[in-house]
């Protein structure tokens, strides 16, 4: 494969690398005090333009499976879809932070690091080899550790960054340990070779390696019992960073889990489906029960995201085409619900300071009727009320679980959804049936409004396009089976 073909297949990645490297130069050479504002403006538009350009370039990629770089990097329809989702989420998250009210994180370095993290996510999605997987994962994680502690004068932000870093390093260690065992027993790190080596008798070593690998990956999607970091990091990190954490990285990590289970370890699906069922049940229960007592809205959304990952894993555990399609649809709705929720939270401030307590939302309907209505739609969608987007995500994964014979899993899922509905509905009750202690600031920035409108439109009108979407998703992931 010659150079031009390589560029044309890995075009989105090359675009992001080029933009990131030029951001380094722009930030380094234009950063004198008088031009700081204009530099920041340039950096913002460069990074947003980079995401947009990379997104557009996805449409120029070849449709079939192409393997590059000596079998380390592969794209296919599924990878392109997930890359599009990750880029869209990254665009939303970066767009939200650029409203000039970024809690001190809206700096050139922030945009550069987010760009690098998104590049890491794209590489994770395309990883076709355990080493490429690990390198992509680190390229994604390192910038996220840094931006979690970006507000260096805040103790909570530093604590969040440190906690995230230490636990992330531990999970990387587990993942590497598992990868080394897999390499030792399969004789190769390439997914395709691992899949081949599973054709003859499967050794215990490979299974143990796979368990460690999945544990490391489960940390990245914050599935229970590897979820300990999530509430603290979500709460401590500056809100724009939390928004990024909530919207994007899990898309890439979930894609990794799908690639590892459905492709590399497809031969021992009976082994990993047990693990995924356990992760799923634990996440659904922890997510639903943990959120009930929370007073901080970011903490509550952290538990809510743990529960969402549990529901998505339920579809994955089914191990069928239907289940995989369900997970992809679930992740799609998850990105938009996260973007919607955080565009609202980032618009709420009192005396120019961010509000984070759930009780601060009380009386929102009388002071900010539009925000309250938007929040109501997002909360109903997260709770899974038809005909909103969140309902269809849950519908597909539970249907797949039932069809695969995992009826108890689906029942637990439905029960925890009911428990989860309690805390989503509590927010709606606060907004509509209680009075505000003190009024929140007026106004909502243009960026927040646009993201909110886009995600609300997606959530409400999702049922119109669900047929086409599931067709597209099904056609793209059929290569797994």
């Amino acid at each position: 494969m010659n150079l031009v073909q390589t560029f044309s297949v890995a075009l989105p990645e090359f675009i992001l690398v080029a933009v990131a490297l030029s951001l380094v130069l722009v930030a380094a050479f234009a950063n004198s005090s008088e031009s700081e504002a204009s530099t920041l403006k340039l950096v913002r538009s460069l990074s947003l333009g980079g995401y947009g350009l990379a997104f557009l370039s996805l449409f120029m990629l070849p449709a079939g499976q192409v393997v590059l770089f000596n079998g380390l990097f592969a794209i296919d329809g599924f990878a392109i879809y997930m890359k599009g989702l990750a880029l869209l989420g990254a665009f939303f998250a970066s767009w939200l932070v650029s409203d000039g009210w970024g809690e001190g994180v809206d700096r050139a370095e922030f945009h550069l690091l987010v760009l690098m993290a998104v590049l890491g996510m794209l590489l994770m999605i395309s990883a076709h080899d355990l080493i490429a997987l690990y390198m992509g994962l680190e390229l994604q994680s390192l910038p996220l550790y840094v931006i979690a502690s970006m507000r260096t004068n805040s103790l909570r932000s530093s604590e969040a960054g440190l906690k995230y870093f230490l636990l992330g390093a531990l999970s990387s260690g587990m993942l590497l340990y598992g990868a080394s065992l897999v390499y030792g027993f399969a004789g190769s790190t390439a997914y395709a070779d691992i899949a081949t080596s599973l054709n003859d008798d499967v050794s215990v070593g490979l299974t143990v390696g796979m368990v460690f690998l999945l544990s490391g990956l489960a940390f990245k999607i914050s599935a229970a019992p590897f979820h300990m970091w999530t509430p603290d990091v979500y709460e401590g990190a500056p809100t724009p960073v939390t928004a990024l954490f909530a919207i994007v990285p899990k898309v890439a990590a979930m894609t990794l889990i799908m690639n590892v289970t459905y492709f590399a370890f497809s031969g021992i699906s009976d082994q990993w489906s047990q693990i995924l069922i356990a992760l799923s049940v634990a996440s659904m229960i922890v997510g639903a029960t943990g959120a009930i007592m929370q007073q901080n809205i970011k903490r509550m959304l952290a538990y809510s995201s743990i529960a969402h990952m549990g529901y998505a894993l339920a579809g994955l555990a089914a191990g069928s085409l239907e289940g995989a399609a369900g997970v992809v649809i679930y992740m799609t709705t998850y990105v938009f619900m996260g973007a919607g929720a955080f565009s609202i939270i980032m618009s709420l401030r009192r005396d120019d300071a961010p509000v984070e307590r759930i009780s601060d939302l009380s009386g929102l309907s009388s002071t900010h009727p539009l925000l309250a209505a938007g929040m109501m739609v997002v909360m109903f969608s997260m709770a899974g009320i038809p005909p909103l987007a969140g309902f269809f995500g849950k519908w597909y994964v539970f249907l797949a679980a039932v069809n695969a014979g995992l009826v108890p899993l689906a029942i637990i899922g439905v029960l925890t959804s009911v428990v989860g509905a309690f805390y989503y509905l509590r927010i709606i009750k606060l907004m509509y049936f209680e009075d505000a202690d003190a009024p929140l600031d007026e106004g909502i920035s243009r960026q927040n409004r646009l993201v909110l409108v886009a995600s609300l439109a997606f959530i409400i009108l999702f049922f119109l396009g669900i047929g086409q979407l599931s067709g597209v998703v099904g056609a793209n992931i059929v290569a797994f089976f």
């Binding site: 690398v17 380390l72 690091l113 390198m135 840094v146 260096t152 030792g184 027993f185 215990v204």
Partner: protein, 201 residues
């Protein structure tokens, strides 16, 4: 015969110094034992005919990483006995988890029978050249990716630690370069017995 003797020597010293790293009371001693462990691991690599990795281990880990550790340990002045206070409390849990891990490792060790087939093929070149051939051709993607990760680490470290303080006089190189002789040098005729200031030019 001799090489197996050396193997046991290096392996034994590596394991013992590894134990000393985690058990010695003085953190500086821990780092020194770590360096000893690195040296012996390098010896093991030489026995495997991997001279390049052995050199790398000595140059990078002993020469750079361990010295950095030493600086950090000496400068931070951490009271390690205070850090160890919770150790007794968590010992049972740690033992259980460690025991499970060891049991798994032993189980996998018994599974592992045929190692010879999984060694990379000899290419008839010495290992420095072989590594170079692989890294810059087959694995160029990973090599470049490692470069990007290091760039992220650098940007991240600077972003977290750089504080722009006000009231600090900074060097502005472009201004320095654009200064002309006329605006910076004043020639004064100094009369004997008087200072340059008093001549009043």
């Amino acid at each position: 015969m001799i090489s197996s003797g050396f193997f046991y020597l290096f392996a034994l010293v590596t394991c013992l110094s590894g134990l000393m790293v985690i058990s010695s009371r003085n953190p500086v001693h821990s780092v020194l034992f770590l360096i000893l462990a690195f040296f012996n691991a390098a010896g093991l690599f030489i026995l495997l005919n991997a001279e390049f990795l052995a050199m790398l281990l000595v140059v990078v880990y002993v020469g750079a990483v361990a010295v950095l550790f030493l600086f950090v340990v000496m400068m931070l002045d951490i009271n390690f006995s205070e850090l160890r206070e919770g150790f007794q409390k968590y010992r049972p849990l740690g033992l259980v988890i460690g025991g499970i891990l060891i049991a798994e490792l032993i189980a996998t060790f018994f599974e592992y029978s045929d190692m010879s087939t999984k060694l990379p093929a000899q290419q008839g070149v010495h290992n420095t050249r072989a590594l170079g051939q692989v890294i810059y051709t087959d694995y160029i993607y990973l090599f470049q990716l490692a470069g990007l990760i290091l760039l992220v680490a650098m940007v991240g470290a600077i972003a977290l630690t750089l504080r722009r303080r006000s009231g600090v006089r900074r060097q502005v190189i472009s201004e320095q370069n654009s200064r002309t002789r006329q605006e910076t040098i004043r020639l004064a005729k100094v009369q004997s017995g008087k200072g340059a200031e008093e001549t009043g030019q």
